[in-house]
Point group: C2
Chain length 596, copies 2
């Protein structure tokens, strides 16, 4: 039996103290999200996650989804009722515009509570998460009629949404897509083709599913430039909004997967299914990117979420399991052995996960706040800067939080010894579930290429320059603060490594593009380390100030210890990443393909 407790105190510290979101009351929805409202939302979300969703996590994994001969899919026991509760609670539309029935609150809040839901039950959380992504694409690129037809029913969770990109022969390279769309006399399109890996592609939670589908219009240019986006509901919709008959889309099979068993991953067959064009012809990739960026941030949060729930269970076990005696002297003389949390190597593991999680959570909050600024600010300059930040940090968050989130789930499992390998213990599920986050929404190698090949150089490197300037301003501001020295000095060294790596790329990737590819993953992780290091420095500053004001506060004390651990033990990895980057592409490209 696994446990989960939502980190309400931590997100409250981040929103209230570190990022002081009350300063953003000029943005739509923010003035409604007062500290009291936020606290109420976090408490409700925590209750739902802990009491409704988490109890279904292990049973959902064991039971999985079942496809029946008629193509219908049953989700695990309890999911339907839980989804109703989740939908009725207004969680899907928390940040959606009020005109479509949403609550119009900051997206930041939605992202923050999504960590709770995902920690509690990642497979469950995906049904709502993908619905939010599909909604976002429709809100940006849909016609007023499309928004009206679909969004309100998605906001309420009456319908869910999906993303249909992958085909057997193309995942990363969507230019190879074959699904075709044929324009009909009435302006609609008939979509035909096979999509794979469609999360929530079929389910028994809702009466309808809104599929967003990439396809190629007859006669469109080859490659990515000939791809368009369509909205294809599972059940057709009548002019009055009521449900019509079934559309030409069916679930051919569901995948047997390593994890997220409770989310149905479908092969969807489109057979002259009726769809509506979303956005302009052949501009499908742009529309899809709206969904994908949203989804990538969400997947990063999933990585963090599995790291967090795995950590909590490892901590509980480490406090409880008696094995051996402390190397520095018996700690529990009344017991046959000490709890394993006395052992430094166990501590090292737990502290490493914890330090990562708290830093990563800050990074997510920071970036989600930028997302609200990018979408809701009146000031174009502010919007641009926030959008730059999103572009730069989204691949980092996706890649780093999932790579490390998975590694952390494995490390947490390690604390259980052999018991960690046993299904009933429950932690091995966190590992299996976390594994998908490194693969979907663009495998992490693609995130690294997106960062190095696209985001870094955009607009003359404007985004990273802003990032460097902000960190430099912070370190300068705190340069003479003695108490901040354990944070500022290591951060300074790490930033220097990132600057050198950036410089190296500028000097070496133009002449030889393989150098960029060879550096990409290490650069992404180097960036992640610096960004999380910066988060820790900011958190430490706030914690120190609050402590000075209000005296002894265990939460703040722990925060500072954990931050120092990150700075001493984890941040210095930047030097290794830099040295790898600087070694270039030669040794990895020298062998011929045949030599492998």
């Amino acid at each position: 039996m696994t446990i989960y407790k939502a980190p309400v105190e931590d997100v409250t510290f981040l929103l209230n103290d570190v990022f002081q979101v009350d300063r953003y009351n000029n943005l739509t929805g923010f003035s409604d999200a007062t500290a009291d409202v936020r606290a109420a939302i976090f408490d409700e979300a925590a209750k739902l996650a802990e009491q409704v969703l988490h109890p279904l996590n292990h049973s959902g994994d064991l039971e999985g989804c079942t496809r029946h001969d008629d193509g219908s899919v049953t989700t695990p026991k309890g999911f339907k009722e839980a989804f109703k509760q989740f939908a009725d609670g207004g969680w899907i539309g928390l940040a959606a515009p009020e005109e479509y029935g949403g609550q119009g609150l900051p997206a930041l809040l939605s992202q923050t509570v999504s960590e709770f839901m995902s920690s509690a039950n990642m497979a469950f959380g995906m049904y709502g998460g993908l619905t939010q992504g599909a909604m976002a694409a429709l809100l940006v690129h849909g016609t007023p009629e499309q928004k009206k037809a679909f969004v309100p029913n998605m906001v309420t969770g009456k319908w869910t949404g999906t993303m249909n990109l992958t085909e057997p022969q193309c995942g990363t390279d969507l230019g190879l897509m074959r699904t075709k769309a044929v324009k009909q006399a009435d302006g609609t399109y008939e979509i035909t083709g096979t999509k794979i890996f469609i999360s929530g592609g079929e389910q028994d939670l809702t009466e309808n599913i809104v599929h967003l589908v990439l396809a190629r219009i007859e006669g469109a240019p080859a490659g990515m430039k000939g791809v368009s986006l369509f909205v294809v509901p599972k059940m057709k919709i009548n002019a009055d909004g009521s449900l019509g008959g079934p559309n030409g889309v069916s679930c051919g099979s569901i995948e047997h997967k390593m994890g997220i068993h409770a989310n149905s991953t479908c092969v969807l067959n489109f057979d002259n299914a009726v769809g509506d064009l979303v956005g302009a012809e052949n501009k499908g990739m742009e529309a899809m990117f709206v969904m994908m960026n949203e989804a990538r941030l969400g997947v990063g949060v999933q990585g963090l979420s599995q790291s967090e729930v795995a950590y909590q269970n490892a901590v509980a076990y480490a406090k409880d399991r008696l094995q051996g005696r402390s190397i520095s002297g018996v700690k529990a003389p009344d017991k046959p052995a000490d709890p394993i949390i006395v052992h430094p190597d166990v501590r090292r593991t737990l502290m490493s996960i914890r330090a990562f999680n708290e830093g990563a959570r800050a990074l997510v909050v920071w970036t989600s706040l930028k997302s609200d600024v990018a979408h809701r600010s009146d000031d174009p300059k502010e919007r641009e800067a926030a959008d730059d930040h999103m572009g730069l940090l989204t691949p980092v968050i996706k890649g780093v939080l999932t790579d490390q989130g998975f590694a952390n789930a494995v490390a947490a499992q390690q604390m259980f010894g052999g018991h960690g390998f046993i299904v009933e213990t429950g932690v091995e599920q966190f590992v299996r579930d976390a594994r998908i986050t490194m693969l979907y929404e663009g495998a992490n190698g693609i995130q690294a290429l997106d960062l190095v090949g696209r985001k870094l150089g955009r607009a003359g490197g404007r985004a990273i320059t802003t990032f460097f300037n902000e960190v430099a301003a912070f370190t300068k501001e705190n340069a003479t603060n003695e108490a901040m020295k354990p944070f500022i000095a290591p951060l300074g060294a790490a930033v220097k490594d990132l600057q050198q790596a950036t410089m190296w790329l500028m000097q070496n990737a133009m002449a030889k593009p393989d150098n960029a590819g060879a550096a990409s993953t290490d650069y992404m992780h180097l960036f992640g380390l610096v960004a999380i290091g910066y988060m820790w420095a900011r958190m430490a500053k706030v914690a120190q100030d609050k402590l000075a004001e209000s005296g002894e506060q265990p939460y703040l004390k722990s925060k500072l210890v954990t931050g120092r651990f990150f700075m001493e033990r984890m941040l210095p990895e930047t030097a290794l990443r830099l040295s790898r980057i600087q070694s270039g592409a030669d040794s990895m490209m020298e062998l011929s393909a045949e030599a492998f």
Copy 2:
């Protein structure tokens, strides 16, 4: 459908050229193992692994083992026939003494082919591997009667063997053991208690199973000092060697596990089971350590084995899967996209796994050779030095080859994108199977403590001093060799890091033992990097010499490129490990347990 091809060329290079095993013909069994005999053995082992065992790997995982109501267990379809073939081929007794029906060949050969078997089908390989471990304990600590009664039937695979250590309340800390042994009038003991996690504890492959069981004799001292070892056959054995009735041991359940589904992991209930004492009363731990050291080396090989088979499948996929175009220009103009092996980030991943595997394989061969010297040399000094080496390197091989072997399986899975998550693709099994190697036979944190707390300081640090001297002699010998510079320089830097870390431990762990625990895992990995780096330098030297002699040889050319990759990209991790070690225990021990 996964593939596997045994690395015969690589092990041949290691045995013939790098370690020149023909120089050891003074050791029993070595003169029989001529180059021709070795080649024949490798070919036969490869055939068995590739054609018989690997085809059962995925089906075995899917089907798993089944326990029936009467406590009997069925292994997956095909396992019984395959085990007969495996046993009849003489693979279990390859290195066992001829007087017990073994072939008396070097243990080195047995260890080398065990990688093939384990890559092909790890769950299958365990049945034989544990039998070899149990046999080793009986050969060292058993009475002549016990050896005669059990070993010949284990050599032929007529019976298998198991190790019974773990109980629900004790894994690492065997002092907490409760299983009890009561001496009977006839000198035998009645064993009563429950053991868990017993690999191959019940099966339908053989007519009998030889359980080696740790238990506490009535009135024995508390803790580890009161633990004795017993041999408890599943079926009693009559005086004439024929099978008697069932003994009081039964399989209560089989575990549901993350991986190695095809190996039955049993809860074994001992209920007044008749057993024979092995070795002296209360000296069970010593006897068990013979098995455990053997087993730990074997588990290290399992880690390598999953890394290897995962690598081979990732390579095949990377050459086949078309996605995107090379960043340095189109490579396959006749195809809709380039195979993904053109992408540097894919190369980086494949080269990292390969460089680790080849270096780790050398380390295993080197250490297995020392095992033969330790057991078979006439010279006590030579035996002592070899035993030192084994003691020092066994925890390193177990910990590093499994931590990294697992990480490599994950990295290989990553090459498949979303397809890697699908059960039918087959690579996710390598990840799940590899995961156990970090946990069993002493979780890797325990290996690190064994290294730092026990092995390092033993006999005044004699073992590590010998290691440092050997590496220093090699670097000195090649100091002026220009071609060896790319190997000698990084190796020198890495050795310096290891020396500094060792010094730091000597200076800081005495006064504050937590510093040793805090450093242990990083020290183990630092040691592993240096040891593998040394292996690469030695391989490079031999490859260069052979190339100079014989001209163009693709295998040797690839070896040198792969070695350079290791030196440039992977070995520099030693600096990070050192910096972590030097940061000490303070930041990880500061929080109270309640603060977690």
